[in-house]
Symmetry: C2
Subunit: 332 residues, 2 copies
C-alpha cells in the first residue's frame, strides 16, 4: 500500500520530465534560419554525430566546435568593431597625450579623419592598437571595454555593438551546446576585448575564447598582485595562427568550424583534415539590405580562396540573404 502511495506521488514528476524532454526534441531548432541546404546540412551533421550506435557517432568530449567572431558571429563593417573601440579610445585619451598632436595618424583620428588614419597602413594601426590596449592592468582593461560597449553605438544602426550579433548564429551555438558540443571562439580579435561580453552575447565562457594577445606581466603593486598589459604583440590569431592556437589552447581538433573569410581558411582546412565526420561552414555576406554584401574584393573580411575551397569541397556556404530569416535580434 505504502509503495503505491509513493509511486502515485512520484509519477507526475517522472512524467513531467518525459514531457519536457519530448517537447524539447519537438521544438524546431534554428528558428531564424530559412529551410534550405545550409540549415539542413547543420541538422543532418548534428544528427549523424549524436546518434548513439550510429557509424559516425562522436563522444561528447570530442564535440568541439570553433567559430570565428568578426563577420561570423557579429558584424565587421564598416570596420572591425575593435578598431572602432581603439579609435574612440584615442579620442578619450587625447587630453592626457598632448604628444599625439604631432603624430600623424593620432592627429588625424582626433580630428575625426578616419581615412587619414587608414592611409597610415598597418604600422599606424598597430601603434594605435598598442596605445589603446596596453598600459593598464587586466582588470582595468576589462572595465574599459565594458564601459565602451555600454555607450558606443554602431554608425549605421545606432545600436550598441554587442547587439550587432547574428541571431541565427546565436541559435546555432545554442543548438550545438544542447547536443553536447563545446563551443569556442577562435578569432583574430583580442582575447581580452572579447571576454567581457561574449558570455552574455553568445553563451561562450571566457575560458573558451581564443584570440590574438599582447604580452602581459605579473607584478606585485603595494602588496597586491596585478597583471599588466604590455605594448608588445604576443600572438596574432589569424590565418595559419588559427590552427596553431587551436592546438595550443584546445589541444583537440574541432569537428565543426565556421568562418567567413580567408583568415579562417587554415582553421577550416585543419578541421576538415581530421578523421571521421566534419562540418565546415562559411557565412557569405550577400545581404546588402539587412547587413552588407562583400567577398572577394573587400579589404575587411575578404572571402576569396576560402570560397573557392568551400565550393570545390562542398562545405556549407550560408547565403545570408537567402538562408537567414532574420540577421539581428532587433530585426523585425
Amino acid at each position: 500500500m505504502r509503495r503505491t502511495i509513493i509511486s502515485t506521488m512520484m509519477m507526475p514528476a517522472c512524467l513531467f520530465l518525459l514531457v519536457i524532454t519530448q517537447a524539447h526534441a519537438q521544438t524546431s531548432p534554428l528558428p531564424s534560419w530559412n529551410d534550405g541546404k545550409a540549415k539542413q546540412s547543420v541538422i543532418d551533421f548534428v544528427k549523424r554525430v549524436t546518434t548513439k550506435g550510429g557509424k559516425e557517432f562522436v563522444p561528447v568530449a570530442e564535440r568541439i566546435a570553433v567559430f570565428d567572431n568578426d563577420g561570423t558571429l557579429w558584424a565587421e563593417q564598416p570596420m572591425y568593431f575593435q578598431l572602432a573601440f581603439a579609435f574612440d579610445r584615442v579620442k578619450a585619451l587625447a587630453p592626457q597625450h598632448p604628444e599625439w598632436q604631432d603624430k600623424e595618424s593620432f592627429a588625424s583620428l582626433i580630428k575625426g579623419d578616419v581615412k587619414g588614419v587608414l592611409a597610415g597602413g598597418e604600422k599606424a594601426l598597430v601603434e594605435i592598437i598598442m596605445a589603446t590596449h596596453a598600459g593598464t592592468t587586466t582588470e582595468e582593461f576589462d572595465n574599459i571595454v565594458r564601459d565602451w560597449l555600454a555607450s558606443a553605438k554602431h554608425p549605421k544602426t545606432g545600436r550598441p555593438y554587442n547587439e550587432m550579433i547574428y541571431q541565427p548564429m546565436v541559435e546555432l551555438l545554442r543548438y550545438l551546446r544542447a547536443n553536447g558540443f563545446k563551443t569556442y571562439i577562435v578569432s583574430g580579435g583580442g582575447v581580452e576585448f572579447m571576454r567581457p561580453w561574449v558570455e552574455k552575447a553568445y553563451g561562450i565562457p571566457p575560458e573558451q575564447v581564443v584570440g590574438s594577445t599582447i604580452k602581459t606581466k605579473f607584478e606585485m603593486r603595494d602588496g597586491k598582485p596585478v597583471i599588466l598589459r604590455l605594448a608588445e604583440i604576443d600572438f596574432i590569431d589569424d590565418k595559419e595562427g588559427k590552427p596553431v592556437a587551436i592546438n595550443k589552447f584546445i589541444g583537440r581538433r574541432p569537428i565543426f568550424a565556421f568562418g567567413n573569410s580567408d583568415g579562417d581558411h587554415e582553421m577550416l582546412l585543419w578541421t576538415a583534415a581530421g578523421r571521421g565526420p566534419r562540418f565546415m561552414g562559411i557565412v557569405h555576406h550577400t545581404d546588402v539590405e539587412r547587413e552588407w554584401a562583400y567577398d572577394r574584393k573587400s579589404s575587411i573580411g575578404r572571402l576569396d580562396k576560402a570560397l573557392d575551397e568551400a565550393t570545390a569541397k562542398r562545405w556549407t556556404v550560408v547565403d545570408m540573404k537567402k538562408d537567414w530569416k532574420r540577421v539581428f535580434a532587433f530585426d523585425k
Copy 2:
C-alpha cells in the same frame, strides 16, 4: 487504471535514482586522506562555496580550480619525469645523430652519465629538450609520448610513470568536479607532454591543460595540413608565468589552487588576491618512506618562500606523511 500501471512501472526507476543520489552523498569523500586539518579545510571550503543561499556561495561557472602537476599531482623525484623522457629519447635517437658524440652533454647522456649532463646546467638541458621535443608534427609527438609511457619505468618503484600519481589528489580532483568545479592543470611541464595521458590519469581533458610551450607552425604537406613543433621556446609556465598563463588561457581567476613549490608561489598569490572565498593548498613532501622528503634546499621542487607565505597566511599545507593514508594507488 492505466495511470496506475504506468506509475507502478516507473516507480522503481525513480526510486533507484533517489537511492543512488543518497548513497553518493553519504559516501565519505577523500577516502585516501586521514582525518585532520588539511582534509577538513578542503571539505569546509567546498561546503561554503556550494551552499545555496549561503553568504559565500560561488556560481558553478566561477568554480575554477588549478593544480600544479610535478610534485603536486604526480611525483617529481629523482628528477622531473619529462626530463627522464628527454634523456630516454636522446638514447633512442642517438643512432640517427652521430654528431651528438661530439656534444658533451649528449655524449654524457648516451654513456648513461646523468650527472655529467646536469653539470652542463640550464643551457645543456634546453639543448636536450629542444632536440627531443621538436622536429616532429604534433601528432607524431603525441605518439612518441604515449609509446614512452607504455614502456618506461620509474627507477625507484619500477612502475610506469603515469602510475606515480597521488591517489589522494586524484580523489580531490574528482571531489571538486562532483561539486561543480572545473579542474585545470597549470604546470611548468610541456602542454603536449601532458595531454596524451592526463585525461585518463586525472580526468582532466586536453583543453584544461595549461603548461609550457614551444613554438609551432602550420604547414601543408602533400596537401595535408600539419602542425610542426619548432626548436624555439614559446612560453615557460612557471613562477610569474603561471598567473599570466591562467589569465591568458582561462580568463577567470581561480578560487582554488594547489601547488608544492616556489614555482607555484605567484599562482597561489594570484588566487588568494581575488574577492570572496579562496582556497590555497600546498603539498609538503615529508614522507621519506612512501615517497620523498624535501623542501627548502631541494634543487627539484624547492619549497621555501611559498612555505613561509603559507604559514603566515594560514593556507592549507598538506603533510604528506601525516595527512595521506595512501600516496600511490599501488600502495597497500
